[in-house]
């Protein structure tokens, strides 16, 4: 377990819309330990894949990833990729087990070189931290 791949359809048949051949596959990560994935789009409308690993870390793979992946963070139990570079991140609340916090992460707009311009934004949606 752990191999994550992106699949992209080839253009469909003109009449009826049937599948055609030459779909493409792109390996997102070969690292072991991926336990959950979520597909969305980045701020450029390009594919964005969030990957949650067994060690509770998460990475985001998109067309803007300078080195192939953006580290979202760790201590994460759920990540849900949306559109426009938005991801929902769930973390256990500190000092309030078994409650959870929910965060909204959004990529910054791309910089001049096509990579992210920092910082991306974190917005708390639900916060049960107690410390």
């Amino acid at each position: 377990m752990g191999l994550v791949e992106n699949h992209t359809d080839a253009p469909y048949a003109t009449y009826g819309g049937k599948f055609t051949s030459n779909d493409s596959w792109h390996i997102v990560t070969l690292g072991t330990g991926a336990v959950a994935i979520s597909a969305g789009t980045d701020r450029n409308g390009a594919p964005m894949t969030d990957v949650l690993f067994a060690n509770h870390s998460a990475k985001e793979y998109s067309s803007y990833s300078p080195d192939g992946a953006l580290e979202i963070g760790y201590g994460i139990v759920e990540i849900d990729a949306g559109h426009d570079g938005i991801s929902d991140v769930v973390t256990p609340a500190i000092g309030s087990f078994p409650l959870n916090d929910v965060w909204r992460f959004q990529d910054a707009w791309p910089g001049y070189n096509g990579f992210w311009s920092e910082p991306s934004s974190w917005t708390v949606v639900v916060n049960y931290d107690n410390y």
Binding site: M1, D9, P11, Y12, G16, G17, K18, F19, D23, V35, A36, I37, S38, A39, G40, T41, P47, M48, T49, L52, A54, H56, G73, Y74, G75, I76, V77, E78, I79, D80, A81, G82, H83, D84, I86, D88, V90, T91, P92, I94, S96, P98, L99, N100, D101, V102, W103, R104, Q106, S121, W122, T123, V124, V125, V126, N127, Y128, D129, N130, Y131
Partner: protein, 210 residues
Amino acid sequence: MFRLLKNSLARFVRQNRRTTVRKSQQRKPTLDVLEDRLALSLASSVSAVGGIKDFYIDGHSAYLRDSQGLHLLADGAKSISAVQDLGGYARAAIVLDNGQLWDYFDYNHMLKYEASNVKDASAGYDFDAVLYGSGWFKDCAFCKNPYTTQFIGFVASNVASISAGEDRDFLPLIAYVDNTFNAFEWRLGNTSWVGYTESLGANVSQVSAG
């Protein structure tokens, strides 16, 4: 283990927090064991008319937080999936603990009943991917119209998990994994009930459609 996790979380929050909102203490549903999870469904945010809409489940209740404030959508909720829908408004498919599926439409702030005996639902552009968990359609996946609640396509039987997306022509696309860990992609053609299925491979634990 717990200590390590707690310390890691503290560092994570210190490094990344921007704002803090305090709420009263309320129990949330305990998350399943990570490795057993096939769907991510506790929170779903979408950029739509009116700004970013944060849909989430807290204490078995479904909420929407937006620029207008916090809105309770439904009690007894177990999963939520949001999408930007017709006209650019947000819409969310909410599955309740009792198996009912309701859709929330942000354009009129109304809930609409869609189905019962539902195991999971994933909101797509102008459609819902619906997986039934009991009854006549147990383990069957359908493509449904959330506005009319009508069936518009049969996806497959023997289905374990589903994910809604859109294809290259902006038509409904549903990726799913069956009970034998084979993954497929189903697309609705130009006509209702005419769909096309393509294999995505074997030994797959989860598939997510974008």
